[in-house]
Protein backbone atom coordinates (compact mmCIF):
# COMPACT_ATOMS: atom_id res chain seq x y z
CA UNK A 1 0.00 0.00 0.00
CA UNK A 2 2.59 2.47 1.11
CA UNK A 3 4.81 1.68 -1.87
CA UNK A 4 1.98 2.19 -4.34
CA UNK A 5 1.02 5.50 -2.76
CA UNK A 6 4.64 6.50 -2.86
CA UNK A 7 4.91 5.68 -6.54
CA UNK A 8 1.71 7.47 -7.39
CA UNK A 9 2.87 10.53 -5.51
CA UNK A 10 6.22 10.37 -7.22
CA UNK A 11 4.56 10.08 -10.56
CA UNK A 12 2.22 13.00 -9.88
CA UNK A 13 5.17 15.14 -8.82
CA UNK A 14 7.06 14.03 -11.87
CA UNK A 15 4.37 15.19 -14.27
CA UNK A 16 3.74 18.38 -12.37
CA UNK A 17 7.45 19.19 -12.39
CA UNK A 18 7.76 18.45 -16.07
CA UNK A 19 4.82 20.66 -16.99
CA UNK A 20 5.87 23.47 -14.70
CA UNK A 21 9.49 23.18 -15.79
CA UNK A 22 8.58 23.61 -19.42
CA UNK A 23 6.25 26.47 -18.57
CA UNK A 24 9.11 28.27 -16.86
CA UNK A 25 11.61 27.74 -19.68
CA UNK A 26 8.94 28.27 -22.35
CA UNK A 27 10.25 31.71 -23.41
CA UNK A 28 13.71 30.42 -24.22
CA UNK A 29 12.43 27.21 -25.82
CA UNK A 30 10.24 29.27 -28.14
CA UNK A 31 13.10 31.70 -28.62
CA UNK A 32 15.47 28.92 -29.63
CA UNK A 33 12.95 27.54 -32.10
CA UNK A 34 11.88 30.89 -33.59
CA UNK A 35 15.10 32.86 -33.46
CA UNK A 36 17.85 30.23 -33.65
CA UNK A 37 16.98 26.80 -34.99
CA UNK A 38 14.39 27.88 -37.56
CA UNK A 39 16.53 30.69 -38.97
CA UNK A 40 19.60 28.42 -39.04
CA UNK A 41 17.78 25.91 -41.21
CA UNK A 42 16.44 28.73 -43.38
CA UNK A 43 19.82 30.41 -43.88
CA UNK A 44 21.42 27.05 -44.65
CA UNK A 45 18.82 26.60 -47.37
CA UNK A 46 19.19 30.20 -48.58
CA UNK A 47 22.91 29.64 -49.00
CA UNK A 48 22.13 27.26 -51.89
CA UNK A 49 19.75 29.69 -53.57
CA UNK A 50 19.64 32.90 -55.50
CA UNK A 51 17.46 35.00 -53.25
CA UNK A 52 16.74 38.73 -53.43
CA UNK A 53 13.78 38.77 -50.97
CA UNK A 54 11.29 40.19 -53.50
CA UNK A 55 11.33 37.05 -55.64
CA UNK A 56 11.16 33.60 -54.07
CA UNK A 57 14.48 31.78 -53.60
CA UNK A 58 15.79 29.90 -56.64
CA UNK A 59 17.83 26.77 -55.91
CA UNK A 60 21.26 26.98 -57.54
CA UNK A 61 23.22 24.31 -55.68
CA UNK A 62 26.66 25.26 -54.45
CA UNK A 63 27.04 28.16 -56.89
CA UNK A 64 27.19 30.79 -54.16
CA UNK A 65 30.03 29.00 -52.43
CA UNK A 66 31.90 28.31 -55.65
CA UNK A 67 31.51 31.87 -56.82
CA UNK A 68 32.72 33.33 -53.53
CA UNK A 69 35.67 30.99 -53.21
CA UNK A 70 36.87 31.14 -56.81
CA UNK A 71 35.86 34.27 -58.68
CA UNK A 72 34.86 36.87 -56.09
CA UNK A 73 38.08 38.74 -55.40
CA UNK A 74 36.49 40.91 -52.73
CA UNK A 75 35.73 37.79 -50.74
CA UNK A 76 39.39 36.87 -50.41
CA UNK A 77 40.29 40.48 -49.84
CA UNK A 78 37.89 40.59 -46.89
CA UNK A 79 39.28 37.33 -45.53
CA UNK A 80 42.82 38.72 -45.76
CA UNK A 81 41.82 41.96 -44.04
CA UNK A 82 40.12 40.10 -41.21
CA UNK A 83 43.01 37.70 -40.66
CA UNK A 84 45.59 40.50 -40.84
CA UNK A 85 43.62 42.41 -38.24
CA UNK A 86 43.44 39.34 -35.98
CA UNK A 87 47.18 38.71 -36.35
CA UNK A 88 47.98 42.31 -35.43
CA UNK A 89 45.41 43.00 -32.74
CA UNK A 90 45.16 39.73 -30.80
CA UNK A 91 48.82 39.35 -29.74
CA UNK A 92 49.08 43.05 -28.96
CA UNK A 93 45.78 43.10 -27.12
CA UNK A 94 46.49 39.98 -25.09
CA UNK A 95 50.05 40.99 -24.14
CA UNK A 96 48.94 44.54 -23.45
CA UNK A 97 46.04 43.65 -21.19
CA UNK A 98 48.13 41.02 -19.38
CA UNK A 99 50.95 43.51 -18.73
CA UNK A 100 48.52 46.15 -17.52
CA UNK A 101 46.90 43.56 -15.25
CA UNK A 102 50.31 42.64 -13.80
CA UNK A 103 50.89 46.33 -13.18
CA UNK A 104 47.49 46.62 -11.50
CA UNK A 105 48.31 43.65 -9.30
CA UNK A 106 51.26 45.48 -7.70
CA UNK A 107 50.72 46.27 -4.07
CA UNK A 108 51.15 50.01 -4.03
CA UNK A 109 48.88 52.78 -2.76
CA UNK A 110 46.14 54.17 -4.98
CA UNK A 111 45.72 51.11 -7.21
CA UNK A 112 41.88 51.33 -7.35
CA UNK A 113 42.18 54.81 -8.80
CA UNK A 114 44.60 53.70 -11.54
CA UNK A 115 42.47 50.63 -12.25
CA UNK A 116 39.53 52.93 -12.95
CA UNK A 117 41.69 55.08 -15.24
CA UNK A 118 42.72 52.11 -17.36
CA UNK A 119 39.22 50.64 -17.39
CA UNK A 120 37.34 53.83 -18.32
CA UNK A 121 37.84 53.60 -22.11
CA UNK A 122 36.26 50.13 -22.10
CA UNK A 123 32.89 51.58 -21.02
CA UNK A 124 32.71 54.21 -23.77
CA UNK A 125 29.96 53.18 -26.22
CA UNK A 126 31.36 51.81 -29.47
CA UNK A 127 29.78 54.46 -31.66
CA UNK A 128 31.02 57.25 -29.42
CA UNK A 129 34.53 55.87 -29.49
CA UNK A 130 34.41 55.44 -33.28
CA UNK A 131 33.42 59.08 -33.67
CA UNK A 132 36.05 60.17 -31.17
CA UNK A 133 38.84 58.18 -32.83
CA UNK A 134 37.91 59.45 -36.27
CA UNK A 135 38.74 62.86 -34.90
CA UNK A 136 41.83 61.81 -32.92
CA UNK A 137 43.22 60.21 -36.07
CA UNK A 138 42.38 63.16 -38.31
CA UNK A 139 45.49 63.61 -40.50
CA UNK A 140 45.46 67.42 -40.34
CA UNK A 141 44.07 68.39 -36.93
CA UNK A 142 44.07 65.15 -34.93
CA UNK A 143 45.54 64.69 -31.49
CA UNK A 144 47.65 61.66 -32.39
CA UNK A 145 49.47 63.54 -35.13
CA UNK A 146 49.88 66.49 -32.77
CA UNK A 147 51.59 64.23 -30.24
CA UNK A 148 53.80 62.71 -32.94
CA UNK A 149 54.65 66.21 -34.15
CA UNK A 150 55.53 67.45 -30.65
CA UNK A 151 57.79 64.43 -30.15
CA UNK A 152 59.55 65.24 -33.41
CA UNK A 153 58.27 62.08 -35.09
CA UNK A 154 56.88 61.94 -38.64
CA UNK A 155 53.11 62.40 -38.80
CA UNK A 156 50.82 59.91 -40.48
CA UNK A 157 47.63 59.93 -42.57
CA UNK A 158 46.12 57.03 -40.59
CA UNK A 159 42.65 56.10 -41.89
CA UNK A 160 43.19 58.00 -45.13
CA UNK A 161 45.91 55.68 -46.50
CA UNK A 162 45.46 51.99 -47.40
CA UNK A 163 48.71 51.02 -45.68
CA UNK A 164 47.94 52.63 -42.35
CA UNK A 165 44.15 52.30 -42.13
CA UNK A 166 44.10 48.81 -40.65
CA UNK A 167 46.89 49.45 -38.10
CA UNK A 168 44.96 52.58 -37.07
CA UNK A 169 41.94 50.43 -36.22
CA UNK A 170 44.24 48.13 -34.24
CA UNK A 171 45.52 51.14 -32.31
CA UNK A 172 41.97 52.15 -31.52
CA UNK A 173 41.05 48.63 -30.37
CA UNK A 174 44.01 48.66 -27.97
CA UNK A 175 42.51 51.66 -26.24
CA UNK A 176 39.75 49.39 -24.92
CA UNK A 177 42.01 46.72 -23.47
CA UNK A 178 40.77 47.54 -19.96
CA UNK A 179 38.00 44.97 -20.48
CA UNK A 180 40.51 42.14 -20.94
CA UNK A 181 42.67 43.56 -18.17
CA UNK A 182 39.92 43.00 -15.60
CA UNK A 183 39.68 39.34 -16.53
CA UNK A 184 43.44 38.84 -16.24
CA UNK A 185 43.45 40.69 -12.95
CA UNK A 186 40.91 38.24 -11.57
CA UNK A 187 43.14 35.40 -12.78
CA UNK A 188 46.22 36.93 -11.20
CA UNK A 189 44.46 37.46 -7.90
CA UNK A 190 43.47 33.81 -7.91
CA UNK A 191 47.11 32.73 -7.78
CA UNK A 192 47.95 31.76 -4.20
CA UNK A 193 50.51 34.05 -2.55
CA UNK A 194 52.19 30.98 -1.01
CA UNK A 195 53.49 29.92 -4.44
CA UNK A 196 55.39 33.19 -4.79
CA UNK A 197 56.68 32.95 -1.24
CA UNK A 198 57.89 29.41 -1.89
CA UNK A 199 59.55 30.62 -5.07
CA UNK A 200 61.29 33.45 -3.26
CA UNK A 201 62.59 31.08 -0.61
CA UNK A 202 64.05 28.96 -3.42
CA UNK A 203 65.88 32.09 -4.56
CA UNK A 204 63.90 32.97 -7.67
CA UNK A 205 63.97 36.59 -8.87
CA UNK A 206 60.86 38.47 -9.99
CA UNK A 207 61.51 37.64 -13.65
CA UNK A 208 61.63 33.93 -12.89
CA UNK A 209 58.57 34.19 -10.64
CA UNK A 210 56.68 35.80 -13.52
CA UNK A 211 57.65 33.21 -16.13
CA UNK A 212 57.53 30.11 -13.94
CA UNK A 213 54.50 30.87 -11.76
CA UNK A 214 52.38 33.71 -13.14
CA UNK A 215 52.41 32.74 -16.82
CA UNK A 216 51.67 29.02 -16.38
CA UNK A 217 48.86 29.74 -13.94
CA UNK A 218 47.30 32.44 -16.08
CA UNK A 219 47.22 30.40 -19.32
CA UNK A 220 43.56 29.34 -18.93
CA UNK A 221 42.65 33.03 -18.91
CA UNK A 222 44.91 33.77 -21.88
CA UNK A 223 43.26 30.88 -23.64
CA UNK A 224 39.78 32.19 -22.92
CA UNK A 225 40.68 35.65 -24.16
CA UNK A 226 42.24 34.20 -27.30
CA UNK A 227 39.12 32.22 -28.21
CA UNK A 228 36.82 35.15 -27.53
CA UNK A 229 39.16 37.50 -29.40
CA UNK A 230 39.19 35.26 -32.47
CA UNK A 231 35.43 34.99 -32.52
CA UNK A 232 35.18 38.73 -31.96
CA UNK A 233 37.47 39.59 -34.87
CA UNK A 234 35.34 37.63 -37.28
CA UNK A 235 32.37 39.69 -36.14
CA UNK A 236 34.20 43.03 -36.31
CA UNK A 237 31.94 45.53 -37.99
CA UNK A 238 30.94 48.84 -36.45
CA UNK A 239 34.25 50.79 -36.33
CA UNK A 240 35.07 49.90 -39.93
CA UNK A 241 31.56 50.76 -41.05
CA UNK A 242 31.53 54.15 -39.34
CA UNK A 243 35.16 55.21 -39.71
CA UNK A 244 36.29 53.96 -43.10
CA UNK A 245 33.35 52.30 -44.80
CA UNK A 246 35.79 49.53 -45.74
CA UNK A 247 38.22 51.82 -47.53
CA UNK A 248 40.50 53.25 -48.63
CA UNK A 249 40.87 50.81 -51.54
CA UNK A 250 39.16 48.07 -49.47
CA UNK A 251 42.02 48.17 -46.95
CA UNK A 252 39.53 47.77 -44.08
CA UNK A 253 36.94 45.71 -45.92
CA UNK A 254 36.24 43.24 -43.11
CA UNK A 255 34.47 39.95 -43.70
CA UNK A 256 31.45 41.10 -41.75
CA UNK A 257 31.30 44.37 -43.64
CA UNK A 258 31.12 42.49 -46.93
CA UNK A 259 28.45 40.19 -45.50
CA UNK A 260 26.45 43.23 -44.38
CA UNK A 261 26.68 44.88 -47.80
CA UNK A 262 25.65 41.73 -49.64
CA UNK A 263 22.67 41.07 -47.39
CA UNK A 264 21.22 44.42 -46.44
CA UNK A 265 22.46 46.73 -49.17
CA UNK A 266 22.35 44.57 -52.28
CA UNK A 267 19.77 42.07 -50.98
CA UNK A 268 21.88 39.10 -52.09
CA UNK A 269 20.54 36.90 -49.30
CA UNK A 270 21.86 33.69 -50.87
CA UNK A 271 25.45 34.90 -51.11
CA UNK A 272 25.26 36.47 -47.66
CA UNK A 273 23.90 33.25 -46.14
CA UNK A 274 26.74 31.31 -47.73
CA UNK A 275 29.18 33.76 -46.17
CA UNK A 276 27.47 33.42 -42.80
CA UNK A 277 27.72 29.64 -42.91
CA UNK A 278 31.38 29.71 -43.87
CA UNK A 279 31.92 32.08 -40.97
CA UNK A 280 30.14 29.68 -38.63
CA UNK A 281 32.28 26.77 -39.81
CA UNK A 282 35.48 28.78 -39.39
CA UNK A 283 34.51 29.94 -35.91
CA UNK A 284 33.66 26.37 -34.89
CA UNK A 285 36.90 25.00 -36.35
CA UNK A 286 39.00 27.69 -34.69
CA UNK A 287 37.33 27.13 -31.35
CA UNK A 288 37.84 23.38 -31.65
CA UNK A 289 41.45 23.85 -32.71
CA UNK A 290 42.24 26.11 -29.80
CA UNK A 291 40.48 23.74 -27.39
CA UNK A 292 42.29 20.69 -28.79
CA UNK A 293 45.69 22.32 -28.79
CA UNK A 294 45.08 23.77 -25.34
CA UNK A 295 46.32 20.61 -23.61
CA UNK A 296 49.73 21.34 -25.13
CA UNK A 297 50.10 24.73 -23.56
CA UNK A 298 47.36 25.44 -21.07
CA UNK A 299 48.04 24.59 -17.47
CA UNK A 300 44.95 23.72 -15.45
CA UNK A 301 45.47 23.36 -11.75
CA UNK A 302 43.26 20.31 -11.65
CA UNK A 303 45.84 18.29 -13.59
CA UNK A 304 48.11 18.19 -10.58
CA UNK A 305 45.41 16.71 -8.45
CA UNK A 306 44.86 13.78 -10.82
Amino acid sequence: MAAVAQRRRYSATFWRDTIQGYLFIMPVVLGLLIFTIGPMIASFYFSFTDYAVLRSPKFIGIDNYVHLLTTDRLFWKSVRVTITFAVMSLPLGITGSLLVAVLMNQKVKGIPFFRTCFYMPAIVPGVASAVLWSWLLNPDYGLVNAVLFKLGLPTCRFLAEPETALPSLVLMSLWGLGGGMVIYLAGLQGIPETLYEAGKIDGANSWQLFWKITIPLITPTIFFNLVMGLIGTFQYFMPAYIMTGGGPLFATYFYNLMLYERAYKWMQMGVASAMAWMLLVVVLLLTLLVFRSSTLWVYYEAEVKK
Binding site: I123, Y264, L279
Partner: protein
Protein backbone atom coordinates in the same frame (compact mmCIF):
# COMPACT_ATOMS: atom_id res chain seq x y z
CA UNK B 1 47.12 39.97 7.28
CA UNK B 2 46.76 43.58 8.35
CA UNK B 3 50.29 43.77 9.61
CA UNK B 4 51.61 42.50 6.31
CA UNK B 5 49.48 44.96 4.39
CA UNK B 6 50.72 47.77 6.61
CA UNK B 7 54.26 46.68 6.04
CA UNK B 8 53.73 46.91 2.31
CA UNK B 9 52.42 50.42 2.52
CA UNK B 10 55.24 51.80 4.64
CA UNK B 11 56.37 55.25 3.72
CA UNK B 12 58.46 55.62 0.63
CA UNK B 13 61.31 57.35 2.48
CA UNK B 14 61.54 54.42 4.85
CA UNK B 15 61.78 52.10 1.85
CA UNK B 16 64.51 54.17 0.20
CA UNK B 17 66.63 53.96 3.36
CA UNK B 18 66.01 50.36 4.33
CA UNK B 19 65.18 48.48 1.12
CA UNK B 20 66.43 50.38 -1.94
CA UNK B 21 65.55 47.60 -4.39
CA UNK B 22 61.92 47.65 -3.23
CA UNK B 23 61.95 51.43 -3.47
CA UNK B 24 63.04 51.25 -7.11
CA UNK B 25 60.30 48.75 -7.87
CA UNK B 26 57.64 50.96 -6.31
CA UNK B 27 58.97 54.04 -8.12
CA UNK B 28 58.99 52.26 -11.51
CA UNK B 29 55.46 50.98 -10.87
CA UNK B 30 54.21 54.49 -10.19
CA UNK B 31 55.88 55.92 -13.27
CA UNK B 32 54.23 53.24 -15.42
CA UNK B 33 50.87 53.73 -13.71
CA UNK B 34 50.89 57.47 -14.15
CA UNK B 35 52.14 57.45 -17.75
CA UNK B 36 49.72 54.64 -18.67
CA UNK B 37 46.72 56.32 -17.06
CA UNK B 38 47.64 59.54 -18.83
CA UNK B 39 47.72 57.80 -22.22
CA UNK B 40 44.45 55.96 -21.59
CA UNK B 41 42.59 59.01 -20.32
CA UNK B 42 43.94 61.44 -22.92
CA UNK B 43 41.38 60.51 -25.61
CA UNK B 44 38.55 60.95 -23.08
CA UNK B 45 40.02 64.28 -22.03
CA UNK B 46 40.12 65.21 -25.69
CA UNK B 47 36.48 64.20 -26.12
CA UNK B 48 35.49 66.58 -23.32
CA UNK B 49 37.65 69.55 -24.28
CA UNK B 50 36.82 69.31 -28.00
CA UNK B 51 33.13 69.37 -27.10
CA UNK B 52 33.78 72.71 -25.39
CA UNK B 53 35.89 74.40 -28.06
CA UNK B 54 34.95 76.95 -30.70
CA UNK B 55 35.32 76.16 -34.38
CA UNK B 56 38.46 78.33 -34.59
CA UNK B 57 40.04 76.46 -31.70
CA UNK B 58 39.32 73.09 -33.31
CA UNK B 59 40.88 73.71 -36.69
CA UNK B 60 44.42 74.62 -35.66
CA UNK B 61 47.56 72.56 -35.76
CA UNK B 62 49.14 71.76 -33.40
CA UNK B 63 45.91 71.79 -31.37
CA UNK B 64 45.41 73.63 -28.09
CA UNK B 65 45.02 71.53 -24.99
CA UNK B 66 42.40 73.70 -23.31
CA UNK B 67 39.80 75.92 -24.92
CA UNK B 68 40.06 79.61 -23.95
CA UNK B 69 36.55 79.56 -22.55
CA UNK B 70 34.32 76.54 -22.11
CA UNK B 71 31.71 76.85 -24.81
CA UNK B 72 28.76 75.11 -23.13
CA UNK B 73 26.49 76.41 -25.90
CA UNK B 74 27.87 73.60 -28.07
CA UNK B 75 25.69 71.15 -26.17
CA UNK B 76 22.53 73.19 -26.65
CA UNK B 77 23.27 73.83 -30.33
CA UNK B 78 24.06 70.19 -30.98
CA UNK B 79 20.89 69.16 -29.15
CA UNK B 80 18.82 71.43 -31.41
CA UNK B 81 20.83 70.96 -34.58
CA UNK B 82 18.64 71.57 -37.66
CA UNK B 83 17.62 68.44 -39.61
CA UNK B 84 18.85 66.29 -36.71
CA UNK B 85 16.60 64.96 -33.97
CA UNK B 86 18.88 64.20 -31.09
CA UNK B 87 16.19 64.58 -28.37
CA UNK B 88 13.95 62.23 -30.31
CA UNK B 89 16.76 59.72 -30.87
CA UNK B 90 17.68 59.73 -27.20
CA UNK B 91 14.03 59.14 -26.33
CA UNK B 92 13.92 56.25 -28.82
CA UNK B 93 17.08 54.69 -27.37
CA UNK B 94 15.68 55.03 -23.86
CA UNK B 95 12.31 53.56 -24.84
CA UNK B 96 13.90 50.53 -26.51
CA UNK B 97 16.25 50.08 -23.55
CA UNK B 98 13.41 50.19 -21.01
CA UNK B 99 11.33 47.64 -22.93
CA UNK B 100 14.33 45.35 -23.22
CA UNK B 101 15.10 45.72 -19.53
CA UNK B 102 11.59 44.61 -18.62
CA UNK B 103 11.70 41.77 -21.14
CA UNK B 104 15.09 40.42 -20.13
CA UNK B 105 14.56 40.67 -16.38
CA UNK B 106 11.25 38.80 -16.53
CA UNK B 107 11.92 36.10 -19.06
CA UNK B 108 15.58 35.42 -18.25
CA UNK B 109 14.76 34.99 -14.56
CA UNK B 110 11.76 32.75 -15.31
CA UNK B 111 13.91 30.52 -17.51
CA UNK B 112 16.80 30.59 -15.06
CA UNK B 113 14.47 29.44 -12.27
CA UNK B 114 13.23 26.59 -14.42
CA UNK B 115 16.77 25.49 -15.23
CA UNK B 116 18.06 25.94 -11.68
CA UNK B 117 15.31 24.51 -9.53
CA UNK B 118 12.94 22.19 -11.36
CA UNK B 119 13.94 18.69 -12.40
CA UNK B 120 12.36 17.48 -15.62
CA UNK B 121 13.38 15.40 -18.63
CA UNK B 122 15.16 17.35 -21.38
CA UNK B 123 16.15 20.20 -19.11
CA UNK B 124 19.89 19.76 -19.47
CA UNK B 125 19.68 19.32 -23.23
CA UNK B 126 17.78 22.58 -23.56
CA UNK B 127 20.25 24.30 -21.27
CA UNK B 128 23.20 23.09 -23.35
CA UNK B 129 21.44 24.39 -26.44
CA UNK B 130 20.97 27.77 -24.79
CA UNK B 131 24.67 27.88 -23.94
CA UNK B 132 25.63 26.80 -27.45
CA UNK B 133 24.00 29.92 -28.87
CA UNK B 134 26.72 31.93 -27.13
CA UNK B 135 29.21 30.63 -29.68
CA UNK B 136 26.91 31.15 -32.64
CA UNK B 137 27.78 34.10 -34.87
CA UNK B 138 24.65 36.23 -35.15
CA UNK B 139 24.87 36.53 -38.92
CA UNK B 140 23.82 32.91 -39.39
CA UNK B 141 20.38 33.56 -37.96
CA UNK B 142 19.95 37.24 -38.75
CA UNK B 143 19.31 36.99 -42.49
CA UNK B 144 16.17 34.79 -42.26
CA UNK B 145 14.99 36.81 -39.26
CA UNK B 146 15.37 39.97 -41.31
CA UNK B 147 13.48 38.43 -44.21
CA UNK B 148 10.71 37.27 -41.87
CA UNK B 149 10.39 40.72 -40.29
CA UNK B 150 10.27 42.18 -43.78
CA UNK B 151 7.46 39.84 -44.79
CA UNK B 152 5.31 40.60 -41.75
CA UNK B 153 5.90 44.33 -42.12
CA UNK B 154 7.96 44.84 -38.97
CA UNK B 155 10.86 46.62 -40.66
CA UNK B 156 11.22 50.25 -39.62
CA UNK B 157 9.39 49.65 -36.36
CA UNK B 158 10.79 49.03 -32.88
CA UNK B 159 9.36 45.51 -32.86
CA UNK B 160 12.48 43.74 -34.22
CA UNK B 161 14.52 45.48 -31.53
CA UNK B 162 12.21 44.72 -28.62
CA UNK B 163 10.11 41.59 -29.26
CA UNK B 164 12.98 39.05 -29.44
CA UNK B 165 14.12 40.06 -25.93
CA UNK B 166 10.93 38.56 -24.50
CA UNK B 167 12.09 35.11 -25.60
CA UNK B 168 14.52 34.27 -22.82
CA UNK B 169 16.50 37.50 -22.77
CA UNK B 170 19.78 36.07 -24.00
CA UNK B 171 21.78 32.98 -23.12
CA UNK B 172 24.31 34.79 -21.01
CA UNK B 173 21.69 36.40 -18.78
CA UNK B 174 19.95 33.08 -18.22
CA UNK B 175 23.30 31.51 -17.38
CA UNK B 176 24.22 34.26 -14.94
CA UNK B 177 20.88 34.18 -13.11
CA UNK B 178 20.87 30.38 -13.01
CA UNK B 179 24.29 30.41 -11.33
CA UNK B 180 22.93 32.83 -8.77
CA UNK B 181 19.66 30.96 -8.18
CA UNK B 182 21.51 27.71 -7.56
CA UNK B 183 23.21 29.27 -4.54
CA UNK B 184 19.91 30.13 -2.83
CA UNK B 185 19.36 27.58 -0.04
CA UNK B 186 16.81 24.91 -0.92
CA UNK B 187 15.31 25.05 2.60
CA UNK B 188 13.81 28.46 1.92
CA UNK B 189 11.98 27.09 -1.06
CA UNK B 190 10.85 23.92 0.70
CA UNK B 191 9.38 25.92 3.54
CA UNK B 192 7.36 28.06 1.15
CA UNK B 193 6.34 24.99 -0.80
CA UNK B 194 4.99 23.27 2.33
CA UNK B 195 3.03 26.42 3.10
CA UNK B 196 1.33 25.92 -0.24
CA UNK B 197 3.04 28.57 -2.32
CA UNK B 198 3.11 27.95 -6.03
CA UNK B 199 6.35 27.83 -7.99
CA UNK B 200 5.41 31.11 -9.60
CA UNK B 201 5.02 32.73 -6.19
CA UNK B 202 8.32 31.28 -5.04
CA UNK B 203 10.01 32.79 -8.08
CA UNK B 204 8.33 36.14 -7.52
CA UNK B 205 8.49 36.39 -3.73
CA UNK B 206 11.67 34.51 -2.84
CA UNK B 207 14.03 34.26 -5.79
CA UNK B 208 13.63 37.71 -7.29
CA UNK B 209 13.99 39.63 -4.01
CA UNK B 210 17.01 37.52 -3.02
CA UNK B 211 18.76 38.01 -6.37
CA UNK B 212 18.91 41.77 -6.52
CA UNK B 213 22.67 41.93 -7.21
CA UNK B 214 22.39 39.42 -10.07
CA UNK B 215 19.32 41.14 -11.47
CA UNK B 216 21.09 44.49 -11.26
CA UNK B 217 24.01 43.04 -13.19
CA UNK B 218 21.73 41.69 -15.88
CA UNK B 219 19.93 45.04 -16.00
CA UNK B 220 23.20 46.92 -16.45
CA UNK B 221 24.38 44.58 -19.21
CA UNK B 222 21.05 44.81 -20.98
CA UNK B 223 20.95 48.57 -20.79
CA UNK B 224 24.55 48.82 -21.99
CA UNK B 225 23.87 46.40 -24.83
CA UNK B 226 20.73 48.15 -26.03
CA UNK B 227 22.03 51.69 -25.58
CA UNK B 228 25.24 50.88 -27.48
CA UNK B 229 23.67 48.63 -30.12
CA UNK B 230 24.44 49.76 -33.62
CA UNK B 231 23.93 46.80 -35.91
CA UNK B 232 20.33 46.00 -34.97
CA UNK B 233 18.99 49.53 -35.47
CA UNK B 234 21.14 49.87 -38.60
CA UNK B 235 19.47 47.02 -40.42
CA UNK B 236 15.96 47.30 -39.00
CA UNK B 237 15.32 51.06 -38.95
CA UNK B 238 15.20 53.30 -42.02
CA UNK B 239 13.23 56.46 -41.27
CA UNK B 240 15.23 59.10 -39.45
CA UNK B 241 12.59 59.85 -36.84
CA UNK B 242 12.81 56.26 -35.62
CA UNK B 243 16.60 56.22 -35.30
CA UNK B 244 18.35 55.46 -32.05
CA UNK B 245 21.08 57.72 -30.69
CA UNK B 246 23.83 55.44 -32.04
CA UNK B 247 22.40 55.63 -35.55
CA UNK B 248 21.79 59.35 -35.21
CA UNK B 249 25.40 60.07 -34.34
CA UNK B 250 26.48 58.10 -37.39
CA UNK B 251 24.06 60.05 -39.58
CA UNK B 252 25.36 63.31 -38.19
CA UNK B 253 28.96 62.25 -38.79
CA UNK B 254 28.10 61.34 -42.37
CA UNK B 255 26.37 64.64 -43.16
CA UNK B 256 28.19 67.23 -41.08
CA UNK B 257 31.64 65.76 -40.60
CA UNK B 258 33.19 69.17 -40.02
CA UNK B 259 30.97 69.97 -37.02
CA UNK B 260 33.46 68.31 -34.73
CA UNK B 261 32.51 70.11 -31.51
CA UNK B 262 28.85 69.12 -31.83
CA UNK B 263 29.81 65.58 -32.71
CA UNK B 264 31.97 65.29 -29.60
CA UNK B 265 29.23 66.90 -27.49
CA UNK B 266 26.74 64.27 -28.60
CA UNK B 267 29.26 61.44 -28.25
CA UNK B 268 29.88 62.67 -24.72
CA UNK B 269 26.14 62.74 -24.01
CA UNK B 270 25.97 59.15 -25.18
CA UNK B 271 28.87 58.20 -22.92
CA UNK B 272 27.66 59.92 -19.74
CA UNK B 273 24.99 57.33 -18.81
CA UNK B 274 27.65 54.60 -19.08
CA UNK B 275 30.03 56.56 -16.85
CA UNK B 276 27.30 57.20 -14.29
CA UNK B 277 26.35 53.52 -14.23
CA UNK B 278 30.01 52.60 -13.95
CA UNK B 279 30.57 54.72 -10.88
CA UNK B 280 27.30 53.63 -9.28
CA UNK B 281 27.87 49.95 -9.87
CA UNK B 282 31.60 49.59 -10.45
CA UNK B 283 31.91 46.46 -8.33
CA UNK B 284 28.94 44.73 -9.92
CA UNK B 285 30.15 45.49 -13.43
CA UNK B 286 33.70 44.31 -12.93
CA UNK B 287 32.50 41.20 -11.14
CA UNK B 288 30.25 40.33 -14.02
CA UNK B 289 32.99 40.85 -16.58
CA UNK B 290 34.95 38.33 -14.57
CA UNK B 291 31.96 36.04 -14.33
CA UNK B 292 31.53 36.18 -18.07
CA UNK B 293 35.04 34.76 -18.38
CA UNK B 294 34.22 31.77 -16.20
CA UNK B 295 31.61 30.56 -18.63
CA UNK B 296 34.37 29.84 -21.16
Amino acid sequence: MTTRAEARYTSFLYLVRRRPAEAVRVAVTYVLLVVGSFIFLLPLFWLITTALKTRQEIYVFPPQFFPKTFRWANFIEAWNYPNMMFPRWIANSLLISVINLAAVLTTASLCAYGFARIRFPGRDVWFMMVLATLMLPGQVTLIPIYVAFYKIGWLDTFKPLTIPAWFGGGAFNIFLLRQFFMQIPIELEDAAYIDGASRFRIWWQIFLPLSKPALATVAIFTFQGTWNDFFGPLIFLTSTEKFTLALGINLFKGQYSTEVAYMMAIALLMTIPMIVIFFLAQKLMIQSVILSSIKG
